[in-house]
Symmetry: C2
């Protein structure tokens, strides 16, 4: 994006600096941005995260900095929101970095099979060098990114048949993409990426055997249990599913420092907002799903182990041919291993005791 | 606090509104506040949370709204920070609500024995009615509160001898307060609140048998393992330890809307900052502690069960004589039970698989 184009798009009120206004008025000009969300309004928590972020930016600046959020498809298709930012069509988008298929390194910003959980993902991003490391990589695409939302660990999705051992994954036609698709392909599955609107009918006709979506709150609205009743967990490919604000790097660099700070703080606050909202919405949705026919199933441990083994192969192969991926994954993995060393002590033992004694009140 | 006193203390620059300045200058006057932290600088993550919050407020307002943070003891002692806010000595404090011993309901804002974990605490505060419910209660004390930080699940602390069954808790002189102290007293322990500086020598002399502090990162600096080597988990009284910003209600109500929004967003962002920082700092500290002599021990399940039983008695007794406590705890408990119903599915199975397979890379 040319600087002139940014200035026009940003709508800086040149008149404001002409009057003898106090410093605050000069440092906080009127700016209008557009944000392409990768999510439809029906995924109301994900879409709502960008709206919550934009509302905080407006309110924190007395409406001087306004960001209009557009649902997927209005300015850019869901998977091309980052392209629109790169080209400068919009100043920012709210997206999952793993929608960008230009380089597998993008995927690591969102979710990694057998990677960090949601709290570790925050710890890694903010204090483990994640934000710096990922932005070193994004810089090559003209993007500056900040974490903005998380679903927590997702469900593995909806299956027409039970998965009793790893052999049941063979020839499984499952709607899934990215690194998880590569892992499942190693076990003989046939991963495919289908448009969201076609999932239901494909599961019904048998064109699909299984489909992953999000978790109880979002899945419930789709009614998948009517066509594929086995609801598997955990979604080992999305132990954390982190969204980001992608800013056009030139637009970001041209902002006054005070607005960069406002965006940083509002991104942090919205990052937490989304996870808390899912954590509040998922439990009652899970109860309703089970009442309405969903059959909860855990992947058997040998299936999980076969998937882990295949994932390690995918990581080794991808790292061998991609330096950026190797660097980021290597650092994440070390952080995850230390993270779980501590997690197993206080957190996991507290949680498991309360899971067992939940109903003793 | 009288309105005049607030206006003087807040330092609103009256002159600014006299000139024909744009709306932004009028809505964003110069304000200076003081924040009494309940923490010393040596608890650098807790103290740093207030500093991080104050820095965001200043940067997001182009330094128009400045908050000076003071460590525990400079304006008010650690446990009296909330009093200073109530009296209007300071506009705000950063504290643990359970330091306020006026009513046991205060404790529930920070931590409840066998209560919510850190993510559930956020979910409850932001979307389970927690912020509204707690502020209904705080209103009677002239306080408005927003979550601002969490340690995650704490360790149970340092013990001179092993705890092999519930009988070993009898006559145990343990440094601990609040609801957890009441629970342990039911099992025959002798809970006591000692000043921080006296813990080490009391453990050494045998005046104390055990002491709880925080978790690996903060505990390491104290060197407790030299005098009480058994490091127990989980801290069932602090599955989540949430800090808050307490604002003087009149000072809060007198702020321009834009500054209320800035404080809300900066509190949310700092709330996340602290948990992520502990999650990054605890794993390497735990490794060093174990190398330096700490003996990690899990409470045996029968001990945990005896503590749970005693906690349920404390909850029942406190609820019987305190309506506010009963209302808040009842709602938290329902939220926790649903929360763990969902948690045991995706999150806990993902975590436990990775704990078992952490080193397979």
């Amino acid at each position: 994006m040319k600087r002139r184009q940014f200035l026009r798009g940003a709508g800086i009120a040149a008149a404001a600096s002409a009057v003898a206004a106090p410093a605050v008025a000069q440092s906080m000009p009127e700016v209008k941005w557009r944000c392409a969300s990768s999510f439809p309004k029906s995924l109301d928590i994900m879409y709502g995260t960008a709206e919550t972020f934009a509302k905080a930016v407006a309110e924190n600046t007395d409406n001087k900095f306004q960001i209009d959020v557009f649902p997927a498809g209005e300015i850019a298709p869901a998977l091309q929101a980052a392209d629109a930012v790169q080209k400068g069509t919009v100043e920012m988008c709210h997206t999952a970095s793993y929608y960008v298929d230009k380089d597998p390194t993008f995927a690591l910003g969102t979710a990694a099979p057998f990677g960090l959980n949601a709290r570790m993902q925050n710890a890694w991003q903010y204090f483990g060098g994640g934000i710096e490391l990922m932005n070193d990589f994004y810089k090559g695409f003209g993007i500056y990114a900040l974490p903005c939302g998380n679903t927590g660990c997702q469900m593995a999705g909806w299956f027409r048949k039970e998965i009793k051992d790893a052999a049941d994954l063979k020839d499984l036609k499952i709607r899934i993409g990215g690194l998880a698709g590569l892992v499942l392909a190693k076990l003989g599955a046939a991963p495919q990426l289908l448009a969201s609107r076609d999932i239901q009918s494909s599961l019904e006709s048998g064109a699909l055997d299984a489909a992953e979506w999000v978790g109880p709150y979002d899945d419930e609205k789709r009614g998948f249990q009517k066509v594929a009743p086995y609801y598997y967990y955990p979604g080992w490919w999305e132990g954390s599913f982190m969204l980001h604000n992608f800013f056009n790097l030139e637009a970001w660099n041209n902002l006054p420092k005070v607005y960069q700070s406002v965006l940083r703080t509002a991104s942090g606050s919205a990052n937490e907002w989304m996870l808390a909202k899912y954590d509040a919405a998922n439990p009652p949705a899970l109860k309703r799903l089970v009442t309405n026919g969903a059959q909860l199933r855990a992947f058997p441990q040998p299936v999980m182990e076969a998937c882990l083994k295949a994932a390690l192969e995918v990581y080794a192969e991808t790292s061998a041919k991609n330096e950026a991926f190797k660097k980021v994954w290597g650092q994440m993995l070390a952080f995850r291993n230390d993270g779980y060393l501590w997690w197993q002590v206080a957190e996991a033992s507290y949680d498991s005791f309360l899971i067992r004694n939940r109903t003793r009140t």
